[in-house]
């Protein structure tokens, strides 16, 4: 009873390791698909990002770094910063709203859990664009929100929410909240109730139980949820386009604008790749610090 098995003992005994490392032939279709539809276009984008814009749009193959130099123009940096800021705010709001919901669902009897999870996922049955239009109907000056508030006598003149950063955040939180709830639910559901009770029994206030036990033990879900919300939020395009109006452009809109309106494919590609690279860098750093592979904090 005194010597727990070392992890290495197990791998030495297992004769399956070499076989399982060989890629299975079953992976082939997926690899072909990803190669043709993801990797190849990415390399195309990479190539185009070093080319120049033709006079009437199109791509002229004179190599240049000008597109990347343009990215750091204060105008675009501001759009970048706004995107990251709004996505961060969205992520934090999703966490704050999603955690109680996920916790509540995970502690329900199994039959009710299914019903609640279904309710969380029901919005996906409708097109995102349609749902965003619905929000416009709610938020606009003569919309539902203002009608209700005015009807209750709470406001004299309509609140101007639509076409602002607030509207974007509302739209993003609405759109991505399920991506936060689902991984959090999975994490909380695996957390034994006895651990929460043990902390409570050991003099922890509810607040301390949350921060000292629930948060550390549901971290994989927190990390997954944060990534799943942050990444699509930072590159969001429909929501800022429809709910943000002209003054509040995000990167997604900028890229769309460069490709389709300005017809500057090389610059659009450069912005797209910079966005991808910075998100990737951010996520990897985050995972290193907080992810499942990170060393657990020593007690005390």
């Amino acid at each position: 009873m005194n010597s727990p098995t070392r992890p290495s003992d197990r791998s030495e005994c297992s004769g399956e390791a070499p076989a399982s490392r060989r890629p299975s032939r079953l992976l082939l279709p997926a690899l072909v698909w990803l190669g043709l539809c993801l990797v190849l276009p990415l390399f195309l984008m990479l190539a185009i990002s070093f080319a120049s814009r033709g006079t009437y749009g199109g791509v002229v193959w004179t190599l240049t770094l000008a597109n990347y130099a343009n990215v750091v123009d204060p105008l675009y940096v501001r759009i970048f910063a706004r995107s990251v800021g709004l996505a961060t705010l969205t992520t934090l709001l999703c966490l704050a709203l999603g955690f109680p919901i996920a916790y509540y669902i995970a502690r329900l009897p199994p039959r009710l859990q299914g019903i609640w999870l279904l309710l969380v996922m029901i919005p996906f049955w409708t097109n995102f664009l349609v749902r965003t239009y619905a929000w416009i109907f709610i938020l606009r000056a003569e919309g539902l929100l203002n009608t209700v508030l005015a009807g209750l006598g709470l406001i004299g003149s309509p609140v101007d929410v639509l076409y602002s950063e607030t509207a974007i955040v509302i739209g993003l939180v609405y759109g991505y909240l399920p991506f936060m709830i689902l991984p959090l639910y999975a994490a909380v559901e695996r957390l034994p109730v006895a651990l929460v009770e043990a902390a409570w029994d050991l003099y922890a206030s509810r607040w301390a139980v949350f921060w000292r036990v629930i948060v550390p033990l549901t971290k994989p879900g927190l990390v997954a949820g944060a990534i799943l919300v942050f990444i699509p939020s930072v590159g969001a395009f429909i929501t800022p386009d429809l709910m943000g109006g002209a003054r509040t452009m995000m990167i997604g809109n900028l890229i769309q604008h460069e490709f389709l309106v300005a017809r500057d494919w090389p610059f659009g590609s450069a912005i797209g790749l910079v966005l991808m690279a910075s998100v990737l860098l951010g996520v990897v750093t985050y995972l290193r610090a907080e992810g499942p592979g990170a060393r657990p904090a020593a007690g005390g």
Binding site: M1, N2, P4, P192, A194, L195, E197, A198, A199, W200, D201, L202, Y203, A204, S205, A208, R212, V213, P216, L217, P296, A297, A298, G299, G300
Partner: protein, 365 residues
């Protein structure tokens, strides 16, 4: 008697349609090792959870150190619970787990270190303080769970099936160790278990519960030797029973005649107070209190009954006989194997059972 450590007064708790705990009253002394014993569904776990504060009674009151704990949440009760599953925090080291309660009560850092070390010594886990729970064996995890609760010096330590997850040998060792630790720290231990041997071995007193009700409280000896109901007699250890009718009462002894006995035979046993002639009664007798012999002589015993050996099972320290007293009545007898020259009885052979009247109890209905 000193002021009681824990008092339950007419405590009831309903779970849906079932009355999990039914007007339970108990007084537990300070420094006592008290066990609540019962099968699943007896209400023992609900009782423990009400003591810990995870559930609150629907009726009645619970007093700890003389104060009602009604409405007091678990984190403000002077009790700590050792969970059946241990519930060690997997992200904290052994030391981190043990220090948790002290940190929550904002004990100075230097004191924490000293007390954690002391707790590690007590459960003999020196040198393991930096391990994570997953790196420990089941027995070690059990000790950490115990240390994590003991380190807080609670007024009452609650144990939920503390040895349930351990294997047989380890369980036997831990029974002795738990009792030793309890005597050393002098705290009140309340242990909930369905394992009768565990309860008898460790406890100063045992309460037997069934279907939310308290059946009997007493020392292990009382519970085993003088069960007050057929359920207690059957649940604690193995017992042979015989249903019949009281024929005569003579002071503390009475004679019971039963249809299942061979004609002409009756049984003399200890009699409950107030038992009347003619009343329905059950005689209860422990398998190790019966002596087997090949001849019918009483030889100083008060009882003798004829039987036939159906099975003889040799299991090392003793031989377990299954004996047919009649077509409908089968008893068990355990005979310690004391060495060569001891008489053995083969299946199929006739045999006589003899015992002293005081070894058998009559339970009147």
């Amino acid at each position: 008697m000193a002021e009681p450590s824990v008092e339950l007064r007419e405590v009831s708790k309903r779970h849906g349609d079932t009355l999990a705990v039914d007007r339970l009253s108990l007084t537990i002394r300070r420094g006592e090792f008290f066990s609540i014993l019962g099968p699943s569904g007896s209400g023992k776990t609900t009782t423990l959870r009400m003591l810990a504060g995870f559930e609150s009674p629907d009726a009645g009151d619970i007093l700890i150190d003389g104060r009602s704990v009604r409405g007091v949440p678990p984190n403000r009760r002077p009790v700590n619970l050792v969970f059946q599953t241990y519930a060690l925090f997997p992200h904290l080291t052994v030391a981190g787990n043990i220090a948790f309660g002290l940190e929550m009560r904002r004990v100075p850092r230097a004191d924490i270190a000293a007390r954690v070390q002391e707790a590690l010594d007590m459960v003999r886990l020196q040198g393991k303080q930096d391990r994570l729970p997953a790196q420990l064996s089941g027995g070690e995890q059990q000790r950490v769970a115990l240390a994590r609760a003991l380190v807080n010096r609670p007024a009452v330590l609650l144990l939920d099936e503390p040895l349930g997850a351990l294997d047989q040998q380890l369980r036997a060792d831990m029974q002795v160790e738990l009792k030793t630790i309890q005597e050393r720290v002098g705290l009140t231990f309340i242990c909930v278990t369905h394992h009768q041997e565990e309860a008898l071995t460790m406890s100063d007193r045992v309460a037997v519960m069934q279907q939310g009700r308290l059946l009997q409280v007493g020392s292990p000896r009382d519970i085993y030797e003088a069960p007050q109901s057929a359920f207690v007699a059957g649940f604690i250890g193995i017992s042979n029973s015989l249903a019949g009718r009281i024929e005569t009462v003579n002071g503390a002894r009475c004679t019971v005649r039963a249809a299942d006995l061979p004609s002409g035979f009756s049984v003399v046993a200890r009699c409950p107070v107030g038992a009347g002639v003619g009343a329905q009664a059950t005689v209860v007798l422990r398998p190790e209190r019966i002596h087997l012999s090949a001849d019918v002589q009483l030889n100083g015993y008060d009882n003798v009954l004829p039987a036939r050996v159906s099975k003889a099972i040799y299991n090392g320290s003793e031989t377990q006989y299954v004996l047919a007293l009649s077509d409908r009545l089968s008893w068990q007898v355990r005979v310690p194997n004391i060495g060569n020259g001891q008489q053995r009885f083969q299946p199929g052979t006739p045999v006589f059972l003899r015992w002293h009247a005081d070894e058998a109890v009559v339970l009147s209905e």
